[in-house]
Amino acid sequence: MQRGPSESLLHQHMASVLSSLSVCPLSLCRIMKVKVLSRNPDDYVRETKLDIQRVPRNYDPTLHPFEVSREYTRALNATKLDRVFAKPFLASLDGHRDGVNCMAKHTTSLSTLLSGSCDGEVRVWNLSKRECGRTLQAHEGFVRGMVVRFCGTSFFTVGDDKTIKQWKMETPGYGEEEEPLNTILGKTVFTGLDHHRKDAVFATCGQQVDIWDEQRSSPIRSFTWGVDSFSSVSFNPVETELLASCASDRSIVLYDMRESAPLKKVIMTMRSNTLCWNPMEAYYFTSSNEDYNLYTYDMRYLDRPITVHMDHVSAVLDVDYSPTGKEFVSASFDKTVRIFPKDGGHSREVYHTKRMQHVICVKWSADNKYILSGSDEMNIRLWKANASEKLGVLAPRERESRNYSQKLKEKFQHHPQIRRITHHRHLPKNVYHQSKELRIMKEARRRKYANVRKHSKPGTVPVVSEKAKHVVTVVK
């Protein structure tokens, strides 16, 4: 395409010189160089209607004034839109005839979820169809724990009837009986179960922590440490021989499967219910505690937690990490599900509905997109992990604009107005009032302690950090 920058060298005739007013009459022949901006519209307009419009850019900062204020406005709009589109609830899976007590993610299939209820029933769900694929009566009484074998072909359940059962993942054919592959009769009630990541070994907990070989009917190893009962057990996903359990004497105990005695334990002020290892930084684990908090520990330094996660207003019952290890989700007795960043003290998100009762178990799906919560009122709920995210495939431009607004939100996150909007959540009345009350109580305690400190001899009353407050002792 040819453009005409009219740069011309020009000799003019005398006549034209004389005709112009401002020319001095002495110079009869003159040379001047002139160029005037002259754009060829063909370079700036599309050729046919089938083309897309041309958008020539010039990134010169002087052509784009107010860049900070404009970016701020964009960030503010993006934040507001985020709240507008925050519709996290996707579906409710109903079918259980009693409260959902435990859930298990399938290890190889994203769309499969297993759930066990308080009446001993186990259901296998197809999440993409949002329907129940298979129902089986696994135990008498509660199904206490459930885990899918690493290969994904079978799963284990433990129940109040003192049995461990192994089931096939496949639905039995027409006319076949729904029967477990294997049944182990234990001596005491089992309360939790986890499977080894690579080997045919699993661990149960009850009155003691037992390590079982799949081929044998008696445990290959049993751990006790002066405690009468454990509530949950969990294998480390990276150091696969390590496992941790929560005991009823308010302690969290670490074990090495290869050793005969437990490694160490930390005793806290209140009992921990469950714990979950961070799948990416597997030396961290987070435990859900009865004192409304969650604690993230480094397993090497148990003397104080890395972070205390506060926001729940009742006992925290379950916790599960996202597969990226950046966030985790917690379920609480206060009828809410909260999402915490792994190193943040407060939750970034809270999910609740009018109908959801005490949430007993929660899972973060393996594709990092969904959260599943099982609650007392017999339903399993499917949530988006990111409340305002658009589901489905994004067009490239859509993705680009989302990334851009994400970055802007991050850039301006500390501006008061933007922070206010991002942090605002509607809460159920009782949660709202209770959190307010808790805040007042905490403030009063802090004030009192500060007063005590102020009026006693300097150095006699130490400053105790929030992290150190909840740990009683570490035993090795």
């Binding site: 009219s6 307009v45 419009q53 052509l63």
Partner: protein, 590 residues
């Protein structure tokens, strides 16, 4: 097969240390070789040093790829970018790295700096590829460009550009005020005696023409070419591009001058009753009404960099206003006698004023200091600055254009042109080398080579946009409308850390907690085994740390002292230089 004699000449592969046995016929060569070897070893040493230097350098070296053939890339690494281009896109200086204990912050800063550097380089690269070049006008060796007439220029350039020089003869309703739309495509003319017309001036197509049957003080395009505001004798009116009256705003009376802030969607008006009012044209609300208490306001301009309104007054002051404050932000005494015209350049650095004292002054409005002062025999009645910094001044019926008024002392105008009547309004057309002059006898469109920005940004102001593109742009622009509260003297203030508030909050926190959470922790020596934590040892370690701390303090004070001394020396030197100069009065000394 190699001949044995030749083989001995070749370098041995065994090792460099082993020298071949001496042969008398090879002595000279050996020496030469030795020299080479020493050079080689030197080079190797150098290489080792370089290796130790920095990982970054290593990466640079690696960029010069070696091919299998043994050739190396003659132009290794990324293509160089001219420094001035990179400088153009520089937003701020590098931040000093925080100390090691804030390793997370360090990391964040390093990443963000890397990203901004990359963006800067990319933008600079892109800048090299921009399609258009700015216009220029150069005369003969001994010829002033101001003597070149418009007809000559129009005749010398191509036909389309030549057609941009034209006169509209409108003697009936003059003198005319004018305004170009933001894209530079549309021209709005408002005659004193009520004639209002809008023209697509490049195709010379008349969009509408009305007579409002009332005196017209000023005309202004709103955000796009579909609407414009006309300040009439009594009220402010909004018309659309078909000439249909959309609004009559009775809250805005006796308006003399108007400015439109395109990113805020604010129409600022200055009235004869000394009121400065802001109208939000996106919602139709009055944002602010400020009584300036300075009499009739007929000199007004905006700072396009920070959306501050500049008003010129009869007592020679120029005041700066934002809608958030009832008082002037700044009052500057610029002239003896009244201010006739004010204008501010695109970057918000320079303000040019002209006054009744026939002076033309240039101010730096970052520091509010005068830079240059010129004397114009006739005085300038109205001023206008182009996108590339050309200044046009109307003195009676002559329009003069100056170049570089703030950097070099100007003696001659760049261009001059005589229009038919007294010039009433001046406006450079954005993105074109055109200056519009409204005068008593109509309108003149002048060619001023080098006035307009050659490359426009399609997402900001696109002269070639279609109706659909305009609609899309309008929606986007409305979505990112800047709130009037954000108007301040420094528009980048929003992106900076508010230290004052932080300090206040920190103090409150210390008060509430009863201790300072950010205070430096007292050093507690670690307990060490095998008898290394004896009382003496602990005390020694404590002392070491204390010593280090003290050294830091001392180092800092010494540095400060050195700096002070250096400054003092420089000052003395300067004073000495000044005192050494011979003054005219020295000859009377004895």
């Amino acid at each position: 097969m190699a001949v044995p004699g030749e083989a001995s000449v070749d370098e041995s592969h065994v090792g460099e240390n082993k020298t071949p046995p001496g042969r008398y016929w090879k002595e000279k060569q050996e020496e030469g070789k030795d020299g080479q070897q020493t050079e080689q070893t030197l080079q190797q040493k150098k290489k080792k040093k370089q290796k130790a230097k920095k990982r970054k350098q290593k990466e640079d070296q690696r960029d010069g790829k070696k091919f299998i053939s043994g050739k190396s890339d003659p132009f290794p690494g990324p293509a160089p970018i001219p420094e001035d281009r990179v400088q153009k896109f520089k937003r701020k200086d590098k931040i000093k790295k925080p100390p090691h204990q804030h390793y997370k912050l360090r990391d964040v800063i390093a990443r963000s700096e890397e990203a901004s550097e990359m963006a800067q380089k990319q933008a600079a690269r892109f800048d090299l590829l921009l399609p258009e070049d700015a216009g220029f006008l150069e005369g003969d060796e001994d010829e002033d460009t101001c003597t070149i007439s418009q007809e000559d220029i129009a005749g010398a350039v191509d036909i389309t550009s030549g057609a941009k020089y034209f006169n509209l003869k409108l003697p009936q309703f003059g003198p005319y005020r004018l305004d170009y739309s933001k894209t530079g495509r549309h021209l709005l003319l408002g005659g004193r005696r009520g004639h209002v017309s809008c023209i697509d001036w490049q195709s010379k197509q008349l969009m509408c023409e009305i007579n409002v049957m009332e005196s017209v003080n000023d005309v202004k395009w709103l955000h796009s070419e579909t609407m414009y505001a006309v300040a009439q004798k009594k009220w402010l009116y909004i018309y659309d591009s078909n000439g249909i009256e959309l609004h009559c705003i009775r809250k805005f009376n006796d308006v003399l001058r108007m400015q439109f802030l395109p990113y805020h969607f604010l129409l600022a008006t200055a009235s004869a009753t000394s009121f400065l009012q802001y109208l939000d044209v996106s919602v139709g609300k009055e944002v602010a009404a400020i009584c300036t208490k300075t009499g009739r306001l007929d000199v007004m301009c905006q700072n396009p960099h920070n959306a501050i309104i500049h008003l010129g007054h009869h007592n020679g002051t120029v005041t700066l206003w934002s809608p958030n404050q009832k008082e002037a932000l700044v009052k500057m005494l610029c002239h003896q006698g009244g201010v006739r015209s004010v204008t501010v350049d695109k970057t918000g650095t320079y303000m040019v004023t002209s006054g009744m004292d026939k002076k033309l002054k240039v101010f730096d409005i970052r520091t509010f200091k005068p830079l240059k002062s010129y004397f114009l025999p006739a005085g300038a009645s109205s001023l206008s600055l182009s996108q590339r910094g050309l200044l046009s001044a109307a003195t009676g019926d002559i329009v003069q254009v100056y170049r570089d008024v703030w950097s070099t002392p100007v003696t001659k105008p760049y261009m001059a042109h005589r229009v038919r009547g007294t010039a009433w309004g001046l406006h450079f057309c954005p993105f074109e080398d055109v200056l519009g002059v409204g005068h008593g006898e109509g309108f003149t469109s002048m060619l001023v080579p080098g006035a307009g920005e050659p490359n426009f940004d399609g997402l900001d102001a696109n002269p070639y946009r279609s109706a659909k593109q305009r609609q899309e742009w309008e929606v986007k622009a409305l979505l990112e409308k800047i709130q009037p509260e954000l108007i301040s003297l420094d528009p980048s203030e929003l992106g900076r850390v508010d230290h004052a508030t932080f300090e206040q909050r920190h103090q409150d926190r210390v008060q509430a907690l009863g201790f300072d959470p950010l205070a430096k922790e007292k050093f507690v020596p670690k307990y060490k085994k095998k008898g290394r934590s004896s009382a003496g040892n602990v005390e020694k370690r404590k002392k070491q740390v204390a010593h280090e701390d003290q050294r830091d303090v001392i180092r800092k004070t010494v540095e400060d002292k050195m700096k002070m001394e250096k400054e003092k020396k420089q000052r003395e030197k300067k004073a000495a230089v000044l005192s050494n100069q011979r003054s005219a009065l020295d000859r009377f000394k004895k």
